[in-house]
Amino acid sequence: MSDFNLKAATQEYATRLGDDAVVLGHRLSEWTSNGPFLEEDIALSNVALDYIGRARMYYTYAAELAGNGKTEDDFAYTRDMREYRNLLIHELPRGDFAYTMVRQLLVDVFNTYYLPELAKSADSTLAGIAQKAIKETRYHLRRSHEWTLRLGDGTEASHQRMQRALESLWGYTHELFDADPLELQLADAGIGVHNAALRPTWLAQVSAILTEATLTVPKDDWAVRGGRVGYHTENLGHLLNDMQFLHRAYPGCQW
């Protein structure tokens, strides 16, 4: 890989990670003023903020690598659904509180292993962002772990909601461990992460938590993919309509 390609690939990679973060942050922010009680409303907003913060750092770095005067907001607000590269699990609807918490558990455990690898990146900016995110993720996982126990081993109704959410989300977890040539090359170059290798540890920890929460680990009998090539579920379009409307309705403005 030539230096020039490496730079372009890193830019694309930072954009992907920014997309993951902004989309999940947006979903979590939909909880604000809708939480099951005030403390939890605040906590969910806090997690949303962490993700919006990550998105800004990744996009700012992508913009810097692009070097064409674009800003973080150009990445977030002016790309169409087909240009977004987030993994699908992040764009799925907010759902009920069980759905949100199961998704967080699956993603938080993933990040618990992914971010420390990224923190070792030869690219010091990416390593720095990851380093900051590790701390946040520790707090996120403590929350989603505790909620999984409470709701999984709470009432019959909460158990059912959790198991249903788990079944609905499981097929989207496989994509977390996919890698296309670009991500493989970046991993080989010491910049990205060999994510496929993370699955056994991820599965072991997720399974342990689910079992502790009296939940059943779903079967691996389906998988939906496409986020990294811009092939999205119908949910992302509606999310971007909301997010981008104002920015696009008044093009070229400063806010």
Partner: protein, 315 residues
């Protein structure tokens, strides 16, 4: 020896704080419960009009700032519910009273947020008016309320600056953005003035509250402060002041202003605002949707306690 009542009034006179365990007149306690819980409800209901724009904020920075602000309001609600609970009531009962309409929240939150500029106007004018009131309440006689106000004021000032800064960006932006800012100012200026409540002569709770130093300044005095401080801010933005009768009164050293449309004020309070029903229904819906979560927590905690007891007995 002084009676408890005399001792209470002595402390009030001496600017000593009344603390939860101190004796206090029942009317003082009820007055505080009403006022602090209303303040708490206002923080919580106030999350909705601003929350309405979180998913649509036009830049990532603004999105983060707004999300963080609404989160802070939730935090203020928490402090204030805690302060109210020191008076011997439960948060669940306070919330039920608000949902049933028995307890009030600030009527300003019955106005809809129609454009992005409203987010700026709320931060600047609504938080601005709230701060004028809250600064005065830092010296309120009830200790927990006073301390909550001190804490809240710091964050609110920050929010107000952010709101004003948002207005600057719009007012100094494109013509469409400037028009948006003017429109928001026009819609929120008068309701912000109404936040200080009726004129002193017509204020139901004022006299006693002043004696007990729950309130420290009158509605009209506080409103005047706000009017005066807002004039140069509007000028700096280059926007037209919504009050056409506004005039500097050199003798008073204050601005004289046009008459407030109190009919409109009572109209909104009495249920004809755009969002009265929506705000309460939203709160009830979220509360009801969260019932199973709270039930599960309770069940889980009970199970855990039972396990611990079992383990202890086995040991």
């Amino acid at each position: 020896m002084m009676t408890p009542e005399q001792n209470f009034m002595r402390k009030i006179e001496a600017e000593e704080k009344i603390e939860p365990k101190d004796w206090m007149p029942e009317a003082y306690r009820q007055n505080l419960i009403r006022q602090i819980s209303q303040h708490a409800h206002s923080e919580v209901i106030g999350m909705q009009p601003e929350g309405n724009w979180i998913t649509r904020a036009p830049s990532l920075r603004r999105k983060a700032v707004l999300l963080s602000k609404v989160q802070d309001e939730g935090g203020h609600g928490l402090y204030l519910y805690s302060a109210t609970e020191t008076l011997g009531v439960k948060r669940a009962d306070l919330i039920a009273a608000m949902q049933s309409g028995e307890a009030k929240y600030a009527s300003i939150f019955n106005y809809p947020t129609q454009t992005w500029a409203d987010i700026g106007a709320i931060g600047w004018l609504v938080d601005g008016a709230a701060i004028v009131n809250q600064i005065s309440l830092q010296r309120t006689s009830y200790g927990p309320y006073s301390r909550a106000m001190i804490r809240i004021c710091k964050e609110e000032s920050f929010h107000q600056r952010q709101g004003y800064e948002l207005m600057i960006a719009l007012a100094h932006g494109s013509p469409a953005q400037k028009a948006m800012a003017q429109d928001a100012l026009n819609r929120f200026y008068w309701p912000a003035l109404m936040m200080f409540g009726p004129h002193d002569a017509e204020s139901a709770h004022s006299a006693k509250s002043m004696t007990w130093k729950i309130k420290r300044e009158t509605n009209d005095d506080l409103r005047q402060k706000f009017i005066d401080q807002t004039v140069p801010q509007i000028e700096f933005l280059g926007l037209v002041h919504p009050d056409q009768d506004l005039k500097w009164n050199a003798e008073r050293g204050h601005y004289d202003s046009g008459e407030i449309d109190w009919k409109e004020f009572y109209n909104v309070i009495n249920g004809n605002g755009h969002c009265n029903r929506q705000r309460v229904e939203h709160h009830i819906r979220a509360h009801e949707e969260g019932a199973w979560v709270r039930d599960a927590m309770t069940a889980y905690n009970a199970k855990q306690r039972a396990k611990t007891t079992e383990q202890r007995q086995a040991a």
